[in-house]
Symmetry: C2
């Protein structure tokens, strides 16, 4: 039996709504990418890093000091943010300076703050 053959454990109750929705649903790949984007920024450490970088570009040691965390941990997180195209970096001597590389991050943060204010 094909492992793609999936039987749902309940009946369709509103067939028209389901069919209409299925027609309008984007491809799996779109959902994966959108969820991935939010997963990346949905972490307290990474959120702090992005806020910090919104003010200035900073080297890893500076970010580690601002967040009171180890260089290694910050470096791992910066790697994640870089691979996702949310930050970029430039090396200058022994230091590597990180900066935001996405104009959308600030926008979604503003909306998130509205959401939080609204739900108080």
């Amino acid at each position: 039996m094909s492992r793609n053959e999936f039987i749902c454990d309940c009946n369709v109750i509103h067939q028209e709504v389901v069919n209409d929705t299925l027609r309008k649903m984007p491809e799996q790949d779109v959902f994966n990418k959108i969820a991935e984007f939010f997963k990346i920024i949905g972490d307290t450490t990474r959120t702090k890093i992005l806020f910090a970088l919104d003010n200035n570009e900073m080297c890893v040691c500076d970010i580690a000091n601002v967040l009171s965390m180890s260089k290694s941990s910050i470096s791992h997180q910066l790697g994640t943010l870089r691979r996702s195209g949310i930050v970029k970096c430039r090396r200058q001597g022994k230091e590597v300076y990180y900066m935001l590389d996405d104009e959308h991050v600030k926008q979604v943060f503003e909306i998130a703050k509205e959401h939080i204010e609204h739900k108080k």
Copy 2:
């Protein structure tokens, strides 16, 4: 002198930038809530549910059919979304209808799509 010398494993390189950033950083609680919001929508299943509900309110069975997943799994995820104030529901007879309860979700999805398009 430095308030970080016992916490962080490296020196502050740019003291002024660090101090300036520390002054501008919001409270821990703000970061927790923002990250939590993105964590909630940063999951493929929940992203799909929110997209589906953007078209119509739907009962649990319908959503389970649209996503080809079990009722239980969908119900768990709907509980998460409900507790976060992102969806709400109403009972009608044996069925429980879910709908979006946040005007910000659609906005952040639009921005996320722009991000994804831009990074191709």
